[in-house]
């Protein structure tokens, strides 16, 4: 199945991957080591299945918005993912960082002081100062703004601009994520201050960001925007580094099949998301396209809701259902062999440093054991209809998942078949995303198939503490609650990690979910687009370093694939 020629770039990377380096790192190395010159100019065309909407640090809406914010705004430091850890780069290491230095006021202090570079300017020419930072955090905390990142400011007591280039953060307590929470992208005070904070989403610069009206600090600004079609980004002249590309066009693709066609025809330089079922077609028909992946930050799960199905209250029954599902077969059936591994718990492999999910054995496929457990619990097929029953009630439930996701639609069909083999009748219900997710959060479902993309901090208390919205199985284990509370109050990551690890183990023992697999996010990248760094921090993170060889800079739409 693998075509060695097309994958050669990959094979070279495999070793590096073992050392937990991402693909992008490899291509970067190649660039630095090889003597190939880097060209400037050219237009990269990126296909996305969602549309950009509000690329602004306080009110961004989608993952794509977040990626755009990441290349349009600077933060005090620039977080990056290296060796399974978040690191925070200062302006020494990244042009995207505003601070050249930061320090804790005392060894166990709850305050951090940042020293900002001089000469920073917004795209409209106004200077970027510490007051912008203070204003951004004040506004973030304002409940009327309802910012999706509001929780980042929850532990921040105050942000004080001491002078134009020095700003100090005072936190409520000492905890591991202090630098992370103070690295949010900074928004320009002079543009947004004074308006109604509740109406910031309809601010003129957000409704019409084009023509550089949206004031940014990062390498790119919005040059034009045809709604429903494409957004064009152009270099911000006031950014310290000149991007190599002349333009980036983000095309709103409505349909994954036509999008793949565009990719194959060479009309696109980049496409996400790429479905696992589309890989083979891409390999066979588009030799000029390579597949890049964002490492396993996501896991797919089956959630058993004990509130609606009494049988799910029994840990052993949940475990038996998990044993009935052949995850390796599922992975093969969904054609994701090279991009997914069976999952064992709430920490995907990117958290190797905290919790080695590979060391924890995933639940083994063992239908006989599953049958034995179910028999022992009184579930027998007494009326010969192929479905187990107890006290006259058949073991039957409905699994809810969202429509519009081919992988999940395929997965539920295989799961249904496998549960049927052990005498459990699972019905399938698909609802579109908005309805399905609100059902999950209101616990109005029986079983659910979904997936989580984890936050980059090991703190998972939002998902496993009682009465949290995202605790969709109403999981409540006093021991786990205690461990999570203790872990969250540790001053450093090194002290917190063992506690998180213990909590995770307890959760795995209870099997509130059946964890299916950890999987990569896939992207298609054309062979002319160079220098992309893709890791858990998203594919856009170094867009100013992307480049296209001079001889291939013609508009992609007009050329035919060779």
């Amino acid at each position: 199945m693998r075509n060695p020629r097309r994958w050669s770039g990959w094979a070279g990377c495999a070793l590096a991957l073992a050392a937990a380096l991402a693909v992008g790192a490899c291509s970067d190395e190649r660039q630095a080591g090889g003597k190939k010159p880097v060209d400037t100019g050219g237009t990269a065309v990126l296909g996305e299945l969602v549309e950009p909407s509000k690329p602004m640090p306080l009110v961004w809406e989608s993952d794509l918005d977040a990626d755009l914010v990441d290349i349009m705004y600077m933060g005090l430091t620039r977080p990056a993912w290296r060796d399974g850890h978040l690191v925070f780069q200062t302006s020494e290491a990244s042009p995207m960082a505003m601070a050249w230095h930061y320090e804790y006021l005392a060894p166990d202090s709850t305050a951090i002081r940042y020293h900002m570079r001089s000469g920073l300017r917004w795209s409209d020419g106004k200077p970027i100062t510490a007051r912008d930072v203070a204003w951004t955090y004040r506004t973030l905390k304002d409940p009327r703004v309802a910012s999706p990142r509001q929780s980042d400011a929850a532990q921040i007591d105050s942000v004080v601009a001491e002078n134009d280039s020095t700003v100090t953060f005072h936190f409520k307590r000492r905890y591991p994520d202090m630098v992370f929470n103070s690295s949010i992208h900074v928004a320009p005070e002079h543009v947004y201050a004074g308006g109604d904070p509740g109406q910031i989403r309809t601010h003129p610069t957000l409704v019409h960001p084009e023509g550089g009206r949206l004031v940014v600090s990062g390498p790119f600004l919005v040059e034009s925007w045809q709604h429903g079609q494409q957004m064009t980004l152009a270099p911000n002249p006031n950014f310290s580094v000149r991007p190599r590309l002349a333009r980036i066009v983000i095309r709103a693709e409505k349909d994954r099949t036509t999008a793949l066609t565009e990719m194959k025809l060479g009309h696109l330089d980049f496409l996400r998301p790429l479905g696992f079922d589309q890989l083979q077609e891409l390999h066979e028909q588009a030799p000029n396209v390579r597949v890049a992946r964002q490492e396993k930050r996501y896991y797919e799960y089956l959630a058993w809701n004990p509130l609606t199905v009494p049988a799910f209250r029994d840990r052993d029954v949940r475990r038996a259902l998990g044993q009935a599902i052949d995850v390796p077969y599922l992975i093969e059936g969904l054609k994701m062999q090279d991009y997914a591994v069976p999952a064992s718990g709430p920490y995907p492999p990117i958290f190797k440093a905290v919790y080695d999910s590979a060391a924890m054995r995933p639940l083994r496929f063992d239908p006989e054991a599953a049958k034995r457990t179910l028999e022992a619990k009184g579930w027998r097929d007494t009326d010969g209809d192929g479905v187990r029953d107890r006290d006259g009630k058949p073991f039957r439930f409905t699994l809810l998942t969202n429509s519009g996701n081919q992988r999940r639609a395929d997965a539920v069909i295989i799961v249904q078949q496998q549960l049927k083999a052990v005498g459990v009748d699972m019905q399938i219900q698909q609802m579109e995303y908005a309805t399905a997710s609100s059902r999950f959060y209101k616990h109005e479902y029986e079983a659910a198939l979904g997936s989580w993309g984890v936050a980059l901090s090991p703190d998972f208390s939002a998902m496993w503490s009682p009465r949290q919205t995202f605790n969709i199985t109403s999981y409540d284990n006093p021991e786990v609650n205690r461990l999570m509370k203790e872990a969250a109050s540790q001053p450093t990551e090194a002290l917190a990690s063992p506690l998180w690890r213990q909590a995770a183990q307890k959760i795995v023992d209870d099997q509130p979910y059946t964890w299916l697999y950890y999987y990569d996010q896939l992207f298609a990248v054309s062979d002319r687009l160079q220098g992309m760094r893709i890791d858990v921090y998203g594919p856009y993170q170094n867009a100013w370093e992307w480049w296209i060889p001079a001889d291939r800079q013609g508009t992609p739409g007009t050329g035919k694939p060779q």
Binding site: T43, E61, T202, G228, Q230, T435, S437, T469, P556
Partner: protein, 327 residues
């Protein structure tokens, strides 16, 4: 005539208000919520609640309805929750995009449909007639979306694999980069992008028009004045295209307005498949995102178009048929 038109227009107002009221309550009573796309473990429930408050979704339904009605009557459609810009700005864009698509497919429908119908009528019971009848029935009975898929498979995807000289674009309205080229290149690019969706949208209806046209033509051809025209020694071309066609067109022309709702329905699927940023794909997205103001506005515009289409067909009928004007 003008009095009649005014009466019809006034009569349409309660009708439109009724439609909007029904849609309003259906979408608001249904499960789901415009803030659902913000749900993620990183966003706290309080933030979601605040968003709902900012959008006025925490008020009782009848208050929301009165508020919406009030701003609607003052001509303010509000902001789209999904796109975050005024609907008065979105609507002309998507409407114009859909109009381009529908107008081109209307041309296809009438030119292709009428030509086929004429050929069939003139050569009634010939091999050509039977073949065309079967073909028309085939296209008429074909699901639009399936035909659209097959078109994009053959003319966009396979065409490039097989190395055809022309590969038709199957997605969007413009090729990247054309905006820097000349006006002529932009127009040509747009027309290329229109071919597949307009064909997919129009072909079934064209088959329907062909059926009507054949019937209407047959009826006219056997009338006395055609025999007279022939007897006068007029060429067959003049007889068919000047005398017969003009009379046979009366019932066909009136179809023009009636096909509009049909085309708009079809546009939902075709625009989704070909990623054409028009009314159809907008309304589907708005429904899925629970973008209440946008759903209301698109429903309103669609209903207005349909009402106008009905009116148009009445007016056309009066224009082409003098007997009706006299009444």
């Amino acid at each position: 005539m003008i009095g009649y038109l005014l009466r019809r227009m006034l009569g349409a107002i309660p009708l439109l208000l009724g439609i909007l009221t029904i849609i309003f309550f259906i979408i608001h009573l249904a499960p789901g919520d415009p803030t659902a796309r913000f749900f993620s473990p990183q966003v706290s429930p309080e933030v979601i609640e605040q968003m709902r408050h900012n959008l006025g979704l925490d008020q009782p339904l009848h208050i929301q309805y009165l508020k919406w009605m009030k701003s609607f009557l003052t001509g303010d459609f509000g902001y789209s929750l999904g796109q975050g810009r005024p609907i008065s700005e979105i609507m002309p864009e998507v409407l114009w995009n859909t109009l381009q698509l529908t107008l081109v497919s209307l041309v296809i429908i009438f030119v292709v449909g009428m030509l086929i119908g004429i050929v069939q009528a003139v050569r009634q019971y010939s091999v050509a007639d039977n073949v065309l009848t079967v073909l028309a029935l085939f296209f008429y009975s074909m699901p639009t979306f399936w035909f659209a898929l097959m078109l994009s498979l053959i003319f966009a995807l396979k065409a490039s694999q097989w190395g055809w000289p022309v590969v038709l674009p199957s997605s969007g309205m413009a090729t990247v980069g054309t905006e820097w080229l000349g006006r002529g290149a932009i127009l040509r690019d747009r027309l290329l992008h229109l071919i597949l969706p307009a064909t997919a949208l129009g072909i079934g209806t064209a088959a329907g028009v062909a059926r009507y046209m054949r019937g209407a033509m047959l009826e006219v051809i056997h009338q006395d004045f055609i025999r007279t025209a022939r007897a006068k020694g007029l060429s067959e071309r003049t007889v068919i295209f000047k005398h017969a066609l003009r009379n046979a067109m009366i019932p066909i022309i009136t179809l023009l307005g009636l096909y509009l709702p049909f085309l708009l329905s079809g546009a939902v699927l075709v625009e989704t498949i070909f990623a054409w940023p028009g009314m159809g794909s907008t309304v589907v997205n708005a429904i899925f995102q629970r973008d209440y103001p946008l759903v209301m506005a698109t429903s309103f515009v669609i209903a207005v178009i349909v009402v106008l289409g009905n009116l148009l067909s009445d007016v056309l009928y009066a224009v082409v048929d003098p007997r009706i004007r006299a009444e």
